[in-house]
Symmetry: C2
């Protein structure tokens, strides 16, 4: 592996074209990377798997999309803290027979998104993927490191009864694309027609805006789906919630179920005290009020017309389990 590891390090250095930047004085090629954060800032770290046939399929997702999506997951976590990402680490295990072209396109997708957000690829690890021939899968683990002023990061735990609940963008677009893929597994979707699924945009500017203006009391990114992620906020804050079906912004052509339970939208879900004025758009993206935080630990309700029903977490499991069967 030494030679191919060396060649991929060389490739990353070429493709990223960044070395010795101020916040990453020592990047790829030593025992550890050296990072610097401005004084008075704290460090944010998040790590996310992207595993073939669990998080993506090579038959469905072009390599550029796989590279983009695996970094977007981590960037979105930093966005949800109101932080500024600046370094990423890529652990990559590849099947022996994987074409070099696939790897190059994967790296291109990842590094293009990294560049857009001034994130340096500062290290990682390479290995051969275990398993024989077709059972060997592409395995990716991505670490994103960011920073935020000390004590100012937005957490899941700050929601208070009475707070309003907001989401950015539209929900369910990624689930809509995924359901189309499952319905006709042999038919490819055109990534340009489903950008929310193939090239989701982490809401970093919105996260920072909310932190800088002290608008949000809690925040999370929508990776598992609204029903699950709202439950996370309620659990960590020790509160309940009520959301209104007709307020939930749906993706074009999407269903309420997809908007409620579909994952991987990478929009932001946040709460804010009722008297806080929240702009209708931030950084060009719509911000929509969808409900209110209530008393009653982790009791999440959906008001749909005249009916009220429980909104249990775990909607996204449907897709996950389906994907797992592969």
């Amino acid at each position: 592996m030494v030679d191919s590891e060396k060649s991929i390090i060389r490739r990353i250095r070429q493709l990223s074209g960044e070395r010795g930047v101020a916040r990453v004085p020592l990047g790829i090629g030593d025992d550890a990377a050296v990072l610097r954060v401005p004084s008075g800032h704290e460090v944010l770290v998040t790590t996310d798997f992207s595993l073939e046939n669990v998080h993506f399929r090579r038959a469905w997702h072009p390599p550029e999309s796989v590279g983009h999506r695996c970094l977007a997951r981590g960037l979105s976590d930093i966005a949800a803290m109101g932080g500024q990402p600046f370094a990423a680490f890529l652990s990559l295990a590849l099947p022996a027979k994987l074409p070099q072209k696939w790897v190059d396109a994967f790296l291109r997708g990842l590094l293009t998104l990294a560049k857009q957000h001034a994130v340096t690829l500062a290290g990682g690890d390479m290995a051969q993927s275990p398993g024989l021939r077709s059972s060997a899968k592409v395995l990716v683990d991505i670490v994103v490191v960011g920073s935020a002023p000390r004590g100012k990061s937005l957490r899941r735990s700050g929601a208070k009864p009475g707070d309003a609940i907001y989401v950015t963008g539209q929900l369910g677009a990624s689930a809509l694309a995924l359901e189309a893929l499952f319905a006709q597994p042999k038919k490819k979707l055109h990534p340009n027609k489903h950008p929310a699924h193939f090239y989701p945009q982490p809401r970093l500017a919105i996260g920072r805006y909310l932190r800088e203006h002290r608008l949000a009391s809690s925040m999370i990114d929508l990776s598992d789906g609204l029903s699950t992620d709202l439950h996370h906020i309620c659990e960590e804050s020790g509160v309940g919630a009520e959301v209104v079906a007709e307020f939930i912004p749906r993706a074009d052509g999407g269903t309420l179920e997809q908007a409620l339970h579909g994952g991987e939208d990478y929009e932001l879900l946040f709460t804010a005290p009722r008297d806080r004025k929240i702009p209708r758009r931030i950084a060009g993206i719509a911000v929509t009020r969808i409900g209110q935080i209530k008393n009653g630990r982790t009791r999440v309700l959906l008001r749909d017309g005249l009916q009220k029903r429980a909104l249990p977490p775990g909607g996204w499991e449907h897709f996950k389990n389906a994907r797992r069967s592969s």
Copy 2:
């Protein structure tokens, strides 16, 4: 996965017993962990895969050893920078049929080592491992975060012609155990009889001592084997090296080949100006001078009796390829 993820987070919180420690004000359970480094310090980050059948085998390595070894790899990287580790992140993909007992013992091995070095398990990710039944493997990626005073981390790139070359401990013990396992794959080795292989000890105290006393000009940890890792130092420093076979400290019962090319010893390899006085033992571990840095980019020679021969990198590949065939 939500439920099992929640249960493993709960388990980790119980087992680690650490929350809200000063340097990790926010750990497992939010979008990202929040870490603090002392002012005037820089952040060190390293990430390492431990993949079943590539880095370990379930038939050979008890789960406690797997947990210990995957964290030891990362700690050893921080040791090689002269740093102080304080947080770890565990990304863990598990086969659906893996017994909970295995996971518990794995976590115990990992967290026991973490506790010994005051490292907080601050986050990570959970997923189901891809592949059907027996083709699904245990996949681990571990991130270790440490710190060191700004500009003082020890790098691979500081070796100068004339510098002396040193190693800590004895070399080849891990390869010796691995060769025994390959020779008789059905026969289990007793971990207590091969602690260097099953429970390697990262040389953190030595790394810090060398940094604090400004003794070393360059350093790396021996994960790939002396021949390969010395080559890394030469490459990054733009120098050559000559080591003397009879000076290389061999493991009990080990061969010269194992000491030269065997990996996963997790000892430290460092260089120091010739006039720098290096203690014969540091933190109870022997420190041995084995050769000298020379001019001539990446030309590494071995003096063996009256003969001199090239010492090419990549010895460890032998073991890696053998392991890969599984």
